[in-house]
């Protein structure tokens, strides 16, 4: 009995499901995380409070609970045209954005204050200072933790499998329901996750070395 070959289409579907969840949620989380980080260091108090609330709320809520809210509560509050996939992306990206925000913020803090002062004294606005001067310099320190966060995101996406989104973990459930040897299923599922996480690590290693050369 060959679990993988017998069910290749299923594995493929699950693998692509996890890749799509990770890629889409990761992209949204990155944008959202940087924006919220900007809020947190902004000179406007309401934005700072919003950023702090966002991080506190999302970082301290178990992801499973966020999924329950996204999948079971939000549709009852009117978001009933959203698909399970979209709701899962919403939960995953909001959750991950809180962590990315904090990674970016710590990166911002590693850039010396003088850089921001120099930019401001040239007449740059807050957003210009952040975009042109601070973030590019923060990128290198921020890359390794963000890589880890995206790897964590790939693995966290398994929770979506319990909420009607087809991904690698649903493959495991489907196949063990059919009675295949659970160890073999897990082995292949694990390998599939490894492919995704290795890919993410490789991309980030590449970015790190490229940035190192550019300096």
């Amino acid at each position: 009995m060959n679990v993988l070959l017998d069910n290749f289409a299923l594995f493929r579907e699950g693998f692509l499901g996890t890749v799509e969840l990770t890629a889409l949620s990761g992209a949204i989380a990155l944008v959202l995380g940087v924006v919220i980080a900007a809020f947190r260091v902004s000179p406007v108090p309401p934005l700072r409070y919003f950023g702090a609330a966002w991080v506190t709320l999302l970082r301290n809520t178990p992801l499973t609970l966020l999924f329950f809210i996204a999948v079971l509560v939000l549709p009852r509050l009117g978001m009933n045209t959203w698909s399970f996939f979209q709701l899962a992306v919403l939960a995953l990206s909001c959750y991950t954005s809180a962590f990315i925000c904090e990674a970016v913020r710590s990166g911002i803090n590693t850039v010396s204050l003088g850089q921001a002062e120099a930019a401001r004294s040239l007449g740059m606005t807050f957003t210009q200072t952040l975009r042109l001067i601070i973030l590019p310099q923060a990128t290198r320190t921020v890359l390794p933790p963000i890589g880890s966060l995206l790897i964590a995101l790939a693995k966290n996406s398994a929770i979506a499998g319990g909420f009607s989104v087809f991904e690698l973990f649903s493959v495991q459930k489907t196949l063990s329901e059919q009675g295949y040897n659970i160890f073999l299923i897990f082995l292949w599922v694990a390998i599939a996750y490894l492919i995704i996480t290795f890919f993410i690590s490789a991309v980030f290693r590449f970015l790190e070395t490229r940035l190192a050369v550019a300096r």
Binding site: P43, Q115, E117, A118, R120, S121, L122, G123, M124, I133
Partner: protein
Amino acid sequence: MTEVSATDLVVLKDVNKHFGALHVLQDIDLTIARGEVVVVIGPSGSGKSTLCRAINRLETIDSGHITIDDKPLPAEGKELARLRADVGMVFQSFNLFAHRTVLENVTLGQIKVRKTDKKAAEEKARTLLDRVGVGNQADKYPAQLSGGQQQRVAIARALAMDPKVMLFDEPTSALDPEMINEVLEVMQQLARDGMTMIVVTHEMGFARSAANRVVFMADGRIVEQATPDQFFSNPRSDRAKDFLSKILHH
């Protein structure tokens, strides 16, 4: 350069600032005329750096008024950014943008703030870099330059914005002794060209030769103002006498 005129460019009135319990600026009244070169000296902790940084609102003040070219300093925002573009600032630690080349350091403000087109900005940047003597370093990154070279680039970066006034916050304090002169020469040239300058420094030689006026600060107050000749040969206050005796005997 701008025509030397008698009108006041920078005016500070009743300026007060506290750092916690420390009263770092006490009832500061100071007026700088267009084209004037004012050197601010005083012992460390006297508030001279804070004064300099308050003029472009890198430090906020608790009370009082600061106007530049008759316009009061606005609160944080676009308006302030526009005003800061008119006030050049040179820092003790250079603060060149580490991820940008020397040329980019000098063009960035022109392009992003002044909206100058790239070609014109580069042309101007190269002229300025030549003028401060680092034209051949344009494509290097700041970390590849010596301290003196970096500070000269920083001056060129500030000049590229066509500022109405230049603030120098201890521009030579972080430099090795052999590099101090190359920076001071650039500053002296600027002064000769008629640039309005406020310079916080410990370089008495520069104060003597380039300043129109010396402002002596101690404990957050302006203790004495005079022409360099007057101040150095005949200080009136005890604090100034004490200070001068300490630094001139070195």
